[in-house]
């Protein structure tokens, strides 16, 4: 797994280019205004943000040079934990559903992680795929427990004890998604440049030296793996609460591959790229199928080919080169 991630270590600690921060701020403000200026887009963007947070989990692993083709597993586990919780406790609060979902994802991340951190490269990717397919098969076949192929409904949880109407709830979960995007995005950015984050990224370049610094590469990878599982858990839970239904589709391998697709589309290794990639992906998916007669897969596939062949840095790579080219600084 040679280097693919944007060399974030080059944007050293203090002097983060102001242009990029401004643009990010502008982007977030634009999202915040969506329910006012484009209410029809609210649901679509909410789904994209949930997916973006999950893709952030995949981006974390990309930074260690590892690609998982099964991270939809944690996305799905968190969603199903939420659905089972609300089914057994109808009045459950939204934050409780989110917390339990993420907890389920973390526990699964630990159990699966303990096994997959022994592997690297293609085997790491395929083993994650195998675990997600095992969970998918269980969801599909054990009908009486998991609702089988039709999945389970996740009736609307309460918010701080209040029984919410549909419109109100969708606003709450929209702004919760934005808050989580900003919070988790900020944390991940800081984590990447922190000692533990930097050590995590040495998995890609030299595990031997890491061992000779007195650290266990497997435990270091496991710490990053747990973070990625948790992020996927947050995404899964938000998606489930927004959609109101959880199906085995959440865990199908194509969805895991889709996450890697979005991470690279946005800009492999870039935190902002995960969200921008998810937004672009969802918009193309909805509008292509609405206006281009359901060949959205073809369009997105072609789009990814163009990105990989001509702009491997992804959308963020393009954005950065634009910023630097007309950059005002040095």
């Amino acid at each position: 797994m040679t280097d693919i991630s944007q060399n974030s270590t080059s944007s050293r600690a203090s002097r983060r280019p102001s242009a990029r921060t401004l643009l990010t701020l502008a982007g977030v403000l634009l999202l915040v205004a969506v329910p006012l200026i484009a209410p029809t887009m609210q649901l679509l963007i909410n789904l994209a943000l949930a997916k973006g947070i999950a893709v952030l989990g995949v981006t974390v692993l990309l930074r260690a040079g590892q690609v998982s083709f099964g991270h939809a597993l944690f996305f799905g586990i968190s969603a199903y934990v939420g659905a089972f919780l609300v089914a057994s406790m109808p009045g459950a609060d939204m934050m409780l559903v989110l917390a339990c979902g993420v907890l389920g994802a973390l526990v699964a991340g630990l159990l699966v992680g303990l096994f997959v951190v022994r592997y690297r490269g293609i085997f790491f990717g395929m083993l994650n795929l195998a675990f997600s397919m095992i969970f998918w098969s269980i969801l599909e076949k054990f009908y009486h427990i998991t609702g089988g192929a039709d999945g389970i409904r996740l009736t609307r949880p309460t918010v701080l004890g209040l029984e919410m109407e549909r419109g109100g709830f969708e606003l709450v979960i929209f702004y919760l998604s934005i808050a989580l995007m900003v919070g988790l995005g900020w944390f991940t950015l800081r984590w990447f440049v922190s000692p533990v984050g930097q050590v995590f990224q040495t998995i890609k370049t030299n595990e031997t030296r890491l061992e000779y610094l007195g650290l266990s590469p497997r435990r270091v990878l496991l710490s990053g793996y747990m973070l990625s599982a948790g992020l996927c858990g947050v995404g899964g839970s938000l998606m489930a609460m927004t959609q109101g239904v959880v199906t085995p589709e959440y865990v199908w391998w194509v969805r895991s591959a889709e996450m890697v697709f979005i991470a690279v589309l946005g800009g492999a290794g870039s935190v902002r790229g995960a969200f921008i990639g998810a937004l672009v992906y969802e918009i193309v998916r909805i509008y292509a199928s609405a206006y281009a007669g359901d060949i959205w897969q073809l369009l997105l596939g072609g789009f990814l080919l163009v990105i990989i062949l001509f702009a491997p840095g992804g959308i963020m790579g393009i954005a950065d080169s634009l910023i630097h080219r007309k950059g005002t600084r040095q």
Binding site: P39, K141, D150, R166, Q243, G244, V245, E249, I286
Partner: protein, 429 residues
């Protein structure tokens, strides 16, 4: 992006006044059907038929001068895409009434959603009885029968034509419909013929392309009767592979939804198997095949699609008939140009309407009372595919549990005498 903004503005303008509503430019209807995947052999004919119904009706000026416009949502895109598209159409797309859905799984998801979005929804094809038995709905109606009436008709026909079979196996699709239909059929059989032994229960994946492992198992088990409530591409594959392996000579197949596959199966469906049509739907319907509207539609459909209509087309006709009848009734009852939502809902209660089959009516729990047609396959040579003989049409009333009662609980109170208590008309072919 632009047109999305304008349509949302339009939605704001639609006042939801309690009294009359002013006539909209067009009556927007959203209809979910399978346009992709193995079930498309089922969903596409229904869409083609609906286009014909709408075209004919608009030619006569639509409803009180308002033309009808139907937009289709593909159920094959998966539950997620379906729910977001349904929500978008009902919410901002300006649809006044939704027709959802074919798959029982999707019905279970979209019915509560319609209630949530406060949009009238006609469950035009899905059969699972749970929806109205587990909760009561204000906005959701079903202009057709349900699994209970269909399975009881199949059991009744089976017991009348094969009173002394001993073993049975089931191969149903692994989702809501497959599981619910087997539970009802099985409960009815236990009550009406307790000595029957169930030798095998298989639930292959919905949309599974290959049934060879299940067929091998059936070859070993050699059951007298094989039940399969699968439909569309799955049923075609299952029957064709079973026919190849000679399974259709050793077991009698009970296929309550096979009417929809007759034409596609061609000679792969030999004589002597029990065929159902989820209602009194058959392109050679003994009581309706001479009626003028029936024959003119058959010709129009054949010219448009080149094939014969299957029961999803009949269900589409019933949904369309219910829709138009409801609007006409609401307009007449309230003497308005265009009914408000409340007035439309009131009209739908206890509505009487007629599609391509017999007359139907909606009970207070919004469940349609639909007659059930069963027959036995025969290769007369008149058509390049099997047709039906020894046709029995069971009246719908007797096949449904009293309003408010749960199906399997009610069935457990029945006994062998139930079969003879049903009012039925028999036809030679």
């Amino acid at each position: 992006m632009k047109n999305l903004l304008t349509s949302s503005a339009l939605c704001m303008a639609l006042p939801m006044a309690a009294w009359a509503a002013d006539k909209p430019e067009t009556l927007k209807i959203g209809m979910t059907t399978f346009l992709t995947g193995s079930a498309s052999v089922f969903g596409v004919p229904a869409r083609d038929a609906m286009d014909i119904f709408v075209e004919n009706r608009n030619a006569e000026g639509g409803i009180n001068g308002v033309p009808i416009e139907v937009t289709y949502i593909d159920e094959g895109a998966g539950a997620e895409a379906l729910t977001s598209e349904f929500r978008r159409m009902a919410d901002s797309g300006g649809a006044e009434v939704m027709l959802a859905a074919i798959s029982s799984g999707n019905c279970q998801t979209l019915a509560p959603l319609a209630e949530d979005l406060k949009v009238p929804n006609l469950m035009w094809d899905c059969g699972t009885q749970r929806i109205f038995e587990e909760a009561d709905y204000e906005y959701v109606f079903r202009p057709q029968g349900n699994a209970t009436s269909e399975m009881l008709a199949a059991v009744a026909y089976l017991l009348k034509t094969h009173p002394d079979f001993e073993t049975i196996a089931v191969v149903n699709q692994d989702y809501a419909w497959g599981r619910d239909s087997w539970e009802i059929f099985h409960t009815a059989l236990e009550v009406m013929k307790p000595d029957v032994e169930v030798v095998g229960e298989f639930f292959p994946k919905f949309g599974s392309p290959d049934f060879s492992t299940e067929i091998s198992r059936l070859q070993a088990l050699r059951p007298d009767v094989v039940l399969s409530t699968s439909w569309g591409g799955d049923l075609d594959t299952f029957v064709q592979q079973a026919f190849q392996r000679g399974l259709m000579n050793t077991s009698t197949f009970v296929l309550p939804l096979a009417e929809s596959s007759l034409e596609r199966l061609g000679n792969a469906l030999p004589a002597g198997h029990i065929i159902g049509a989820r209602g009194d739907h058959y392109f050679l319907h003994p009581e309706r095949r001479e009626d003028e509207d029936f024959t003119s539609f058959m010709a129009q459909y054949k010219e448009a699609t080149g094939g014969i209509p299957v029961y999803s087309v009949f269900h589409a006709s019933q949904a369309f008939a219910a829709l138009t009848a409801a609007y006409e009734k609401a307009i007449a009852d309230n003497d308005v140009d265009w009914p408000s939502e409340e007035q439309l809902l009131a009209a739908l209660d206890g509505l009487e309407f007629q599609g391509l089959g017999r007359k139907l009516h909606l009970r207070e729990d919004h469940q349609g009372v639909e007659s059930q047609l069963m027959g036995t396959s025969v290769q007369t040579g008149e058509y390049p595919f099997a047709t039906l003989e020894n046709i029995m049409i069971f009246d719908g009333e007797g096949l449904l549990p009293p309003v408010g009662e749960e199906s399997t609980a009610w069935i457990r109170t029945l006994d062998a005498g139930f079969v003879d208590s049903l009012s039925v008309e028999t036809y030679e072919n």
